[in-house]
C-alpha cells in the first residue's frame, strides 16, 4: 500500500523529502476499461538519472507524460521539488510556472517545422515573457551547451536526427528546469548518435545538477547513463534499485528478460 493512500487528507509534499526532486504518489490511469497504470509510486532523488524500462504497452510513456504535466492521472499525485501543492492539480499561471520546472524530450523530437533551430529554442523563452535581447543571448548559450553553436539559423527540418534531438534538449532546458524527462529520446537514433546524445544528457546533468528520468525500452540506455532504474510491467513497477544491483542480481522475470535481451545487442 503506498503511503499516500493511507494519509489521503494530508498533503504529501516533495519538500518534506529534501532529497526528492520528483515524486509520483500512487498514480493510476485507465483508458476506458484498460488499466494502464496501477498505483505507481516513485521518488526520484535530486541529481539522479533514473531509468524507467519496460516493454511497449507497459505504461511507461503514460507515466512520464503524467510526470511531465502533459496528461492527468485518474488518481494519485505528482510533486516537484520546491512546489508545495500537487502540481497536477495546478491551473492557469501556476501550472505554466510548474511546467517551467520540467523539460520534456520526445522520441520523435517534435520540433516546430515553421521555426529554425534557434527559434525553436527561443519559444519557451518567448512564452515566459523574456525580452528579445535576453532571448538571443540565452539561445546562443543553449546552442553552445548542446554543441550546435553554428546551427542557429538552420531550418529545423534540415538537421540530422541527432542534431534535432540536441535542439529539442536545448529547448527543454531553456527555462532552467530542475528536472528533465525523456520519453524514448534515443529510440529513433542510430547506435552511435544514441551514445553521443546519452553522453550529452549525462554531461548536462553533471554541469547543471539536473534530475533526469529516462523512459526507454533499450537496456543500452540504462546501462550507459542511469544511476537507478524501475522495471515496469503491465502498469506496475516490478523491480527497482540501483542499476549496478539489478544488473548483478535481477529478481523479476521482466528484469531478467531485459538483461538477456541486452546481451544480444
Amino acid at each position: 500500500m503506498p503511503s499516500g493512500a493511507i494519509f489521503q487528507d494530508i498533503p504529501v509534499s516533495a519538500s518534506i523529502f529534501p532529497r526528492t526532486a520528483l515524486r509520483l504518489d500512487a498514480i493510476s490511469k485507465a483508458f476506458g476499461s484498460h488499466t494502464v497504470l496501477d498505483e505507481i509510486s516513485l521518488d526520484v532523488p535530486k541529481g539522479q538519472i533514473h531509468g524507467i524500462i519496460g516493454k511497449s504497452g507497459a505504461g511507461k510513456t503514460t507515466l512520464i507524460r503524467i510526470a511531465g504535466l502533459l496528461d492527468k492521472p485518474d488518481r494519485g499525485s505528482v510533486f516537484f521539488e520546491g512546489i508545495d501543492a500537487p502540481v497536477h492539480e495546478l491551473r492557469g499561471q501556476e501550472l505554466l510556472e510548474a511546467r517551467r520546472k520540467v523539460g520534456f524530450v520526445f522520441q520523435s523530437f517534435n520540433l516546430f517545422a515553421s521555426r529554425t533551430a534557434g527559434e525553436n529554442i527561443a519559444f519557451p523563452l518567448e512564452a515566459a515573457g523574456w525580452p528579445s535581447a535576453k532571448i538571443h543571448a540565452r539561445v546562443q548559450e543553449l546552442l553552445d551547451l548542446v554543441g550546435l553553436a553554428d546551427k542557429a539559423d538552420r531550418p529545423s527540418s534540415r538537421l540530422s536526427g541527432g542534431e534535432k534531438q540536441r535542439v529539442a534538449i536545448a529547448r527543454a532546458l531553456a527555462n532552467h528546469p530542475s528536472i528533465l524527462l525523456s520519453d524514448e529520446a534515443t529510440s529513433a537514433l542510430d547506435p552511435e548518435t544514441t551514445r553521443s546524445v546519452l553522453d550529452l544528457i549525462r554531461n548536462l546533468r553533471d554541469m547543471l545538477g539536473l534530475t533526469v528520468v529516462m523512459v526507454t525500452h533499450q537496456m543500452e540506455v540504462v546501462r550507459r547513463i542511469c544511476d537507478s532504474v524501475s522495471v515496469i510491467a503491465s502498469g506496475s513497477i516490478v523491480e527497482e534499485g540501483l542499476v549496478s544491483e539489478i544488473f548483478a542480481h535481477p529478481r523479476s522475470a521482466a528484469a531478467k528478460a531485459f538483461l538477456k535481451e541486452g546481451q544480444h545487442e
Binding site: R65, G68, L69, L70, L96, E97, R99, R100, V102, G103, F104, F106, S108, N110, L111, F112, A113, S114, R115, F123, P124, E126, A127, A128, P155, S156, S157, R158, A168, R171, A172, A174, N175
Partner: protein, 221 residues
C-alpha cells in the same frame, strides 16, 4: 474584337472587387470560426469540456446547412442581410454579402482541417514549453499550418470567382454577367470568348500565386 475588349474593363473591375472584398471578409470571419471549430474539438484546447462538444455539434450543423444551399438560392435568401449591411440589395457591393456568407463556412472548414493536421506531438512540445493556449495557437499552430492555409485560401478564391459569375442576378455585374448578357443573350460570341478567357486567366493567376507562395514557405523549412 476591340469593342469586346472595351466592354471588359468595368465587369473585370467588378469581379476583382467582389473577390477581393469577400476573400478579405471571409478570411477574417471564416478564419476565426475555423480556429473556434478547431479549439472546440481538440482535446488539447477545449475539446474535453462537455459544453464545448455540444457547441461544436451545433456549429457543425449550422455550417453544413449553410454549405448545402445552392448558391443561387443563398444569394436570394441573403438579400435582407445585404440591405441591412450595405443599404441596398442590388449592385456589386450587395453581391459581396452573399459571396462572403458562402465563403465563411467553406473557409472555416479549411482552417479547421489545416489546424487539425498539425502533428499532436508538436502541440505536446509546445505545451511542455509552458506556453498559453493562445500563444500555442498563434505562434506555433498557425505558422505550422501556413502552407495548407494558403492552399485553402487559394481554393476559396477560385470558388468565389465561380460564384461571382452569378452576381448578375442581383445586378452585381462582373465577368459572368458580361458573358451571359452580351455573349449569350445578344449572340456576341466574341464577348463571350473574351469574358471566358479572362475568367480562365484569373483562375490560373490565383492558382499560380497560391501554389508559389505555399511552395516558397515549404522551401524555407
Amino acid at each position: 474584337m476591340n469593342e469586346a475588349l472595351s466592354l471588359l474593363a468595368k465587369p473585370l473591375g467588378e469581379t476583382l472587387l467582389m473577390i477581393a472584398a469577400s476573400t478579405l471578409i471571409a478570411g477574417i470571419l471564416g478564419g476565426l470560426v475555423g480556429i473556434l471549430l478547431f479549439a472546440l474539438s481538440n482535446d488539447r484546447f477545449a475539446g474535453k469540456h462537455r459544453g464545448a462538444r455540444f457547441a461544436k455539434r451545433l456549429a457543425d450543423r449550422a455550417i453544413n446547412m449553410l454549405r448545402s444551399f445552392p448558391y443561387i438560392i443563398l444569394m436570394v435568401l441573403v438579400l435582407p442581410l445585404s440591405r441591412l449591411i450595405v443599404g441596398t440589395s442590388l449592385g456589386t457591393l450587395a453581391a459581396i454579402v452573399p459571396l462572403s456568407v458562402a465563403a465563411i463556412p467553406f473557409l472555416a472548414r479549411i482552417v479547421e482541417s489545416a489546424l487539425s493536421e498539425v502533428d499532436s506531438g508538436v502541440i505536446d512540445a509546445a505545451i511542455s514549453c509552458a506556453a498559453s493556449k493562445t500563444r500555442i495557437l498563434f505562434a506555433i499552430l498557425i505558422p505550422e499550418a501556413l502552407p495548407s492555409l494558403v492552399s485553402g485560401l487559394t481554393l476559396t478564391m477560385i470558388s468565389l470567382l465561380g460564384y461571382s459569375a452569378m452576381a448578375g442576378v442581383i445586378g452585381g455585374g462582373g465577368l459572368g454577367d458580361l458573358a451571359i448578357r452580351y455573349g449569350y443573350q445578344r449572340f456576341r460570341g466574341d464577348v463571350m470568348a473574351v469574358a471566358v478567357v479572362t475568367i480562365i486567366i484569373l483562375v490560373e493567376l490565383i492558382q499560380f500565386s497560391g501554389t508559389t507562395i505555399a511552395r516558397s514557405i515549404r522551401a524555407k523549412r
